[in-house]
Subunit: 202 residues, 2 copies
DNA sequence: ACTATATCAATACTATTTCTTGACCTAGTT
DNA sequence: AACTAGGTCAAGAAATAGTATTGATATAGT
């Protein structure tokens, strides 16, 4: 049957990503194509809103998302940015099926491939290889989260900024500095001063 | 019990709206509070996308939505605008549980109170007074739709524009003229010329 | 006193969105 | 044949929204 072979083009970056971790056979590829759905979010659009349960696991094909918390005073604190070939979801809310206290929205028009909670379970059952793939993927997230935490509790704003532009060089010119400030936990004004200082140095 | 009295503040405009049609008792108010959920849509965000079933009946607390169709050529035709204290839903899709061929999105950041299809049925059963309220509300929508249709088939673009600014004076300076043009069924350029002509008159 | 940071207000700058205009086209009247 | 009600396309102008910088002043901890 021909149907077997219908693999939608938009899925390719994701297949390439998996392929890079562990080779997939035809059936596994087909599963991925069936269970992940492409979706476009426009700049500023919510992907996940506080209070809703996170029901999708998102792989970013192009664009950029942020996950953040709004505190009681109305200040936003960015937990994570994610751009091409990264994953973003509120893992806690996703797995425990509980309302999210974090928001996710788009900093640019963003194309994601998303798999629902149910479909992810199906995927694990039908192709246990994905248990491993998703373990690796979560491990990676965990590692970078831990790194970020460590940085946060041990460094000055300036050090954190320097480290940010090193780790996220592809994002520094792409997202507004207000956002970077909110990620670093400082005010935009202070970030502006840090930058000023840096440019004077060179 | 205290719980009885917990009425979320955001619901008030809706209670006021109902109250204005028919007085509600405590239990009815409580039902409204339990069954309607507040939700914020940001500018350009979809409230309903073509192909999805419309599952929410929306009351607008603040902001402005539009409902429109995109034709085969990619042109958009606005069926309806809705701002504060108006209702907007694709009633056909909502009641017949069929995929919508219309889109709804936000022209401004918009706060709505929404009730799901299931919850609306519950509401009707638990408080039959709402049968009447919603009948009135649908009648109002019907009347303004008919008026619009009549206008459309019987008037020139200029007359339609004049009538628009009369009926929707609160919106004329609030939404872009591209949108008004699309509502009137003319090009933005032509609308611009009509406006030009008007100002010259006075 | 000094450093790292915050707040507030004003200003400057940039990018995006919206509006207008000119030039030209078309189909249906008069 | 000329007129009217509209349309298309491209360019530019104007308005608005979003972003970045700067100065002045404040605070808490070393």
């Amino acid at each position: 049957m021909k149907e077997d072979k219908i693999i939608h083009k938009q899925i390719e970056p994701l297949l390439a990503y998996f392929q890079n971790l562990i080779p997939l056979n035809k059936e596994e590829k087909q599963l991925v194509c069936d269970l992940f759905k492409p979706r476009l979010y426009r700049k500023r659009q919510y992907v996940l809103q506080e209070g809703d349960v996170c029901n999708q696991f998102n792989f970013i094909v192009r664009g950029c998302l942020r996950m953040y918390k709004v505190d009681d005073k109305g200040n936003t604190h960015i937990v994570q940015f994610a751009s091409e070939n990264w994953w973003l979801s509120n893992i806690g809310s996703f797995h425990e099926r509980k309302p999210s206290e974090l928001n996710i929205d788009a900093l640019e028009d963003t194309m994601v491939l998303q798999i629902s909670h149910d479909n992810l379970l199906t995927l694990y059952i039908q192709a246990p290889k994905f248990d491993r793939i998703f373990r690796v993927l979560i491990e990676n997230s965990f590692i970078s989260l831990q790194k970020r935490l460590l940085q946060n509790i041990s460094s000055s704003a300036e050090e954190r900024y320097l480290s940010f532009i090193e780790s996220y060089s592809h994002l520094t010119n792409r997202i507004p500095q207000t956002q970077i400030a909110s990620f670093l936990g400082i005010t935009p004004e202070f970030l502006s001063r840090l930058r000023n200082k840096q440019t004077k140095k060179s």
